[in-house]
């Protein structure tokens, strides 16, 4: 399985810099867990940052700075020096939701309480500390479309299981789609199985259908 749709440089740079809001970061980190190629691109950015750090004009340390540090490490002696071996509990099956997403939701897809959105679609809002974005897990029924919509801002979608088509493009596990105000689209889940994806937005979607616009506030989309 190869991931076909990747993170843009500008989004990845914000994540590497540590200045990307938590909701977007959750989508980026979820994609990164499933995409070694983008992790390589992230590492290149971090290497670049490391070199820029070395090139920064040094800010002299305070008087007695090393002596303080020395006192701290000496009083910290005895702290474990080698890493605690993180052994994940033996798993026969690979979870659908990778970390960090699984931790945010408190379990894998089978253990979650889905909230109906109507027409066979379900969602689960994901709480974050960031007020700018809204993150949710979405389940689109097999073969069904997400109603056609545009975007008041940015939308990031990471596919976790199943797949959807958006125009000519097919998005499957691990793929990320970046949509902005210029895109009006109608993603359609492929017929084999329901499509579960992580969707993060920073503004309400703009549905083409007036009826959906009417019930939208109640659904919180």
């Amino acid at each position: 399985m190869m991931v076909a749709h990747h993170i843009s440089d500008e989004l990845l740079l914000s994540y590497a810099s540590g200045n990307l809001a938590e909701g977007w970061s959750l989508a980026v980190a979820t994609h990164l867990a499933l995409c070694p190629a983008c992790r390589h691109r992230l590492f290149l950015m971090e290497k670049t940052a490391g070199q820029l750090l070395v090139d920064l004009a040094p800010e002299p340390a305070a008087d007695g700075s090393w002596e303080r540090m020395l006192a701290r490490i000496q009083s910290a002696e005895g702290t474990p020096t080698s890493q605690p071996v993180a052994v994940s509990p033996a798993c026969d099956e690979i979870p659908i939701l990778p970390d960090p997403l699984r931790t945010y939701l408190g379990g894998d897809v089978t253990s979650l309480k889905w909230i109906p959105l109507g027409r066979g679609a379900y969602h689960i809002p994901i709480p974050t500390m960031d007020r700018k974005t809204k993150a949710r897990l979405l389940r689109i029924p097999a073969g069904k479309p997400v109603p056609e919509h545009g975007h008041g801002g940015r939308e990031l979608t990471v596919v976790l299981t199943g797949s959807f088509r958006d125009g000519e493009e097919l998005f499957a596990r691990g793929d990320i789609e970046e949509a902005d105000t210029s895109l009006t689209h109608q993603p359609i889940a492929t017929p084999e199985q329901d499509c579960i994806c992580l969707a993060v937005t920073d503004a309400p979607l703009r549905f083409s259908n007036w009826l959906l616009r009417l019930v939208q506030p109640a659904l919180g989309i």
């Binding site: 843009s8 440089d9 500008e10 740079l13 914000s14 994540y15 590497a16 810099s17 540590g18 200045n19 809001a21 938590e22 970061s25 959750l26 980190a29 979820t30 867990a33 499933l34 070694p36 992790r39 390589h40 691109r41 590492f43 290149l44 950015m45 971090e46 290497k47 490391g50 070199q51 820029l52 750090l53 070395v54 920064l56 004009a57 800010e59 002299p60 340390a61 305070a62 700075s65 090393w66 540090m69 020395l70 490490i73 910290a76 002696e77 702290t79 020096t81 994940s88 690979i94 979870p95 659908i96 939701l97 990778p98 970390d99 960090p100 699984r102 945010y104 500390m129 960031d130 691990g174």
Partner: protein, 189 residues
């Protein structure tokens, strides 16, 4: 301070960090501290309100370096890269109201990289040198964008406003810069 002013080569810092991780070598740590401390402090000072706050965050960063030295993973980057990621995460904790979720290589759903890690330590020194040279070749306007993004916690749209250039230009400069750096690293000399 005479000793501190001397530049350390990438090879030297890697050996120093190994000595810290494996042997709890305090002298090696002091050399790392004197070299990286003031640079980390300069990085923190970009956001900190005063020099004391920057000093505190630098101390925290170096404390983490001491505690986690044995976990340093040379396949992900060199020592400067590793210290940057520690400093960045501490700065996010200190100055952002939200969190920065990260992937977990020990997660059973994590998709590992199949490309065999060759002699990572050797590769890294070579690669870091190629990267440094490629960065020197970048046009100033591209390098400036990378610095603003990495150091000053500004979104790309804020940077665009500040520099009075369209957001599209910011994005294309970022893409150009990383395309060049990637190409430079792929050319195995």
């Amino acid at each position: 301070m005479g000793e501190a002013a001397r530049e350390l080569t990438k090879d030297e810092v890697a050996k120093l960090l190994v000595a810290v991780g494996r042997d709890r070598d305090v002298e090696a740590f002091e050399r790392l501290f004197r070299y990286y401390g003031p640079r980390v402090k300069a990085y923190m000072a970009r956001l900190a309100h005063n020099s004391q706050a920057a000093e505190e965050l630098m101390q925290e960063t170096m404390m983490t370096v001491w505690n986690k030295a044995a976990q340093f993973d040379p396949s992900r980057g060199n020592v400067a890269t590793w210290i940057f990621t520690i400093a960045r995460n501490l700065r996010v904790d200190a100055y952002r109201k939200d969190r920065r979720p990260d992937f977990d290589p020990n997660d059973p759903a994590f998709v590992p990289d199949n490309a065999a890690a060759a002699d990572a330590a050797f590769e890294n020194v070579q690669e870091a040198e190629r990267l440094r040279r490629a960065m020197e070749e970048l046009p100033e306007e591209q390098l400036q964008l990378l610095k603003l993004s990495f150091f000053d916690d500004r979104s790309h749209s804020t940077i665009a406003e500040q520099l009075n250039i369209p957001l599209g230009t910011v994005k294309s400069r970022i893409r150009l810069a990383f395309a060049k750096l990637r190409t430079a690293l792929e050319e195995k000399a």
